[in-house]
Symmetry: D2
Subunit: 152 residues, 4 copies
C-alpha cells in the first residue's frame, strides 16, 4: 500500500545516505536506526533555528532536553545505499515538552517508508527535573514552524 | 514518579549490561539503543521457545518477521554499566502480526525505567508479503505465554 | 604534539559530522567509530571512481571485498558535533589485496586527529576465496590514485 | 588456513553472542564491531581485577585511560548468532601505557577468527595528559597477568 503525505508543513528536511553498517542481518536498515535518524533530524531542526550543540549536551540557548517517548510505523524497508529524506516538524508544544513528527521518504524507491514521532522534555540541567519551556522559545518555534499547536 | 508493574505474566526475562558505547553524549543510554534491546529480547523470546536463527534471518521454524511498529516510553535514564532486565511478553496476536510488550527494569537503580512495544509481521520469505501466522504457532505461543490475547 | 601530514596525494576526501550517538561514555567519539568512518571512506572512494553498491554487497563492477586488517593511531579526541575530513588513498596493491591509508582531520579543532589503514581482500563471490585483482582494475586505480604502489 | 593459538597465558575470557544488529550488509559481523568487543573485553579485564566503572568514565581506582592505538587481523568471518570468546591479556606495560592483546575464538565454527591489540594511555583526569602508571598498579597487573612484560 502506497502512502501519501503532505510535507509542505514540515520546515526541516535532512538528507541521509544509508550507511553500510546500518543494514542488518535482514539486509534492511535496522529498525532501531530510524530513531538515530530521528535524533539527527531533531538536532538538525534546532541547528536550522540557529542553535549549536555544546560539548555537555545542552544547546547554545542553554536548554537541555531528554527523550520521553519515541514511536515509529514502518511501511517499507530501506536498503543499502538508499538516499533518504527525513522531514521534521513540531506537532505540538505542551508546558514542558515538545512533540516532533517525522516522515521518512526514500528517494531511491520513491516512496514514504516510515512515520514517527518523539516527545522531548525540557529539563533543568542541574536538577534534571522538567521545567516549563520559556515563552520566548515558544514564540520562536511558532515563527519557524507555522503549523505548531500550543497546548497549554 | 516511581512506576510499578506486575511482571508475573511476562514469560521471558533477558539480562543486559549497559555497554560503554551505548552511552551517548548525554551520559545516558541512547534512546535508540532501547530498540536494540527490544530486538534482542524478541529473538531471546523465540529462542526460549526452542527456535534458533538461521543465517538468512529466518528462524528454524521457517518463519520470517519484519518490524511494523515500535514504541517506547522512557521513565528514567540508564547509565554506564547499569544492569538491566528486559521483561517480554506477547500482548496479542492478530491475523498476520504479533504485538510484543516490554518492560525494562534497572537492577542498579532498582526501578522500572521504560516500557515499550513492537508489532512484527509474519511475511512470506519469497514475496515479502504478510501471511497469516500458522494456527500451530498460535497454539504454541498460547502454551508458552499464558496471558496472550488472540484477536482474529 | 601537533601532527602534520601532506594530504596532496590523497585523491578522496569525505566530510563527516560527528553524530550524537557516536560519542561515548568518555564524551569523545568512540574508538570503534573511526573504523565506521574508514569503511564509509572506502565506499566513497569506490563511488568517486564511478561504482555503486549492489544490495548484495558487491560493487557494480562485480568485485567483492572483505576486510583482512584494520588499524588506527589516535592522536587527539573528536567531540560532539565536530566536523571531520577523512582523507583516503590506496597505498599499495598486492596480488589479491589493497591497502588503504586514511587521515582524519578535525576541522573544528584544526588538527589531524588520527591515522589509519585497512587491507581489503578481493574474493570470489561464490567461493569467498581470495582471487587476483583484475589488471584492468589496477590500471584504473593507477589513473585515479597517482601515488599507489603495485607490489606484485 | 586454520590458525592455532595458545590461550593459556590469557587471564581473561569474555563470552559474547553476536547480536542481530552487529551483522552488516555483507551478512558478517561488521569489522568495526570487533573493536567494540575489544573495549568490552578491556573493561571486563579490569572488572575481573576488582574494579568497577564510575559514571564519569574513570575506574574505581581513579585511573582514566584513553585509546591510543587499535588493530585487528581478521582470519574468518563471524555470523549472526555465533558464540564468541574474547581472550584478553596485557602484553606489555610502558611508562604511561598498556598494550592489550586479544584473540577471538568462534565457538560456533570452532576456529580462531581474529587477533587484535590495543594501546591505552593513562591520563590525568584534569589535564588529560599522559601520566606514569603507578608502581602499585603495575605490581597488581603482574600478579593477575603472569606473562606481562614491563618495558621501562
Amino acid at each position: 500500500m502506497e502512502k501519501e503525505f503532505d510535507v509542505s508543513k514540515f520546515p526541516v528536511k535532512l538528507e541521509i545516505n544509508v550507511r553500510s553498517y546500518e543494514v542488518d542481518f535482514q539486509n534492511v536498515v535496522n529498525n532501531a536506526v530510524y530513531f538515530n535518524y530521528f535524533e539527527l533530524a531533531r538536532i538538525d531542526y534546532r541547528k536550522k533555528m540557529g542553535y549549536s550543540l555544546n560539548p555537555n549536551g545542552t544547546f547554545s540557548d542553554g536548554l537541555l532536553f531528554f527523550v520521553a517517548h519515541n514511536e515509529c510505523d514502518y511501511f517499507s524497508p530501506a536498503y543499502l545505499d538508499n538516499e533518504l529524506i527525513i522531514y521534521t516538524r513540531i506537532d505540538y508544544i505542551k508546558n514542558s515538552s515538545l512533540n516532533f513528527e517525522h516522515l521518512i521518504y526514500n528517494k531511491t524507491t520513491q516512496q514514504f517508508i516510515a512515520r514517527g514521532s518523539g516527545v522531548i522534555v525540557n529539563v533543568d540541567p542541574l536538577t534534571m527535573s522538567p521545567v516549563p519551556i520559556p515563552e520566548t522559545k515558544i514564540e520562536e518555534i511558532k515563527t519557524f514552524d507555522k503549523a505548531v499547536k500550543v497546548l497549554r
